[in-house]
Amino acid sequence: MTLETVGFALVAAVLLASSLAVVLTPNLFHAVLYLAAALVSTGVVFLLLDQPFLFAVQLLLYAGGVVTIVVFAIMLTERLVGQRIAQTSRHLVNGAVVAAAVFVGIVGFLVQGPAAAPRPAQTVDVTVAIGHALVGPFAVTLELLGALLVVALLGALYFARSEE
């Protein structure tokens, strides 16, 4: 049992527990808070994989941005509706069967695959390498992403506009 194994087991337990809470809790607001926990523990998984830069991005964009947006949406909607939004789930058994089937399928595929190679040593500074890649081989993709974000911004503005 190395320190990394213990850390992985802990993070995996937190991630799975909070993910289950996201899909099972009846209170939508609690679900968003559990999602924040799941996103932060995913960031810790990134740390275990030696990616501190992605950990920072995960915290800033996901845990910071997404959770804030959704919390705002729920609070505003609840004020508009005037009652607490509870959500009841339906077809729990059917959903569980389909999800379990997908999981068994993926794991069956993993088991058939060749044993994974051991983790290579980290040689370069990944943050610097990502920066070079974003303006080098992935520059066009980065520009396309910028265009997509502008389109999303315009779309959100279009739907959020007041009625004349």
Binding site: L49, F103, F138, L153
Partner: protein, 125 residues
Amino acid sequence: MMGLQAYLVLAALVFAIGLFGVLTRRNAVGILLGIELMLNAVNINLVAFARFHADLAGLVFTLFTISITVAEVGVGVVHTDRPPRPHPVDSHVVELHRRIKAVFDPTGRLNPGRDPLAATTTEAA
């Protein structure tokens, strides 16, 4: 040392949980949260493969999926309390579309007995 497969199994579990949420939740925000979990699982996969294969592409694509997800949440959340209404269309435009359909489908074989354009038509002002 943890192997690659431990990370992949963890990601598969999170993906399955997210799928369960998408299938069973009844309102748009709940489904959106399930989709978040599924995308998160994909990110774990991308980073794990990138780390174990010493390949930068997975990391860059993780950055891209995170950004796209944030945009998707922004647009999706706007839609949750205000679904898009059918846009009123000028009747001349509808007539033009009917004539195009008549050219390609003179016998009315496509969408028989229905007029999907009728719901959106308004008389020209």
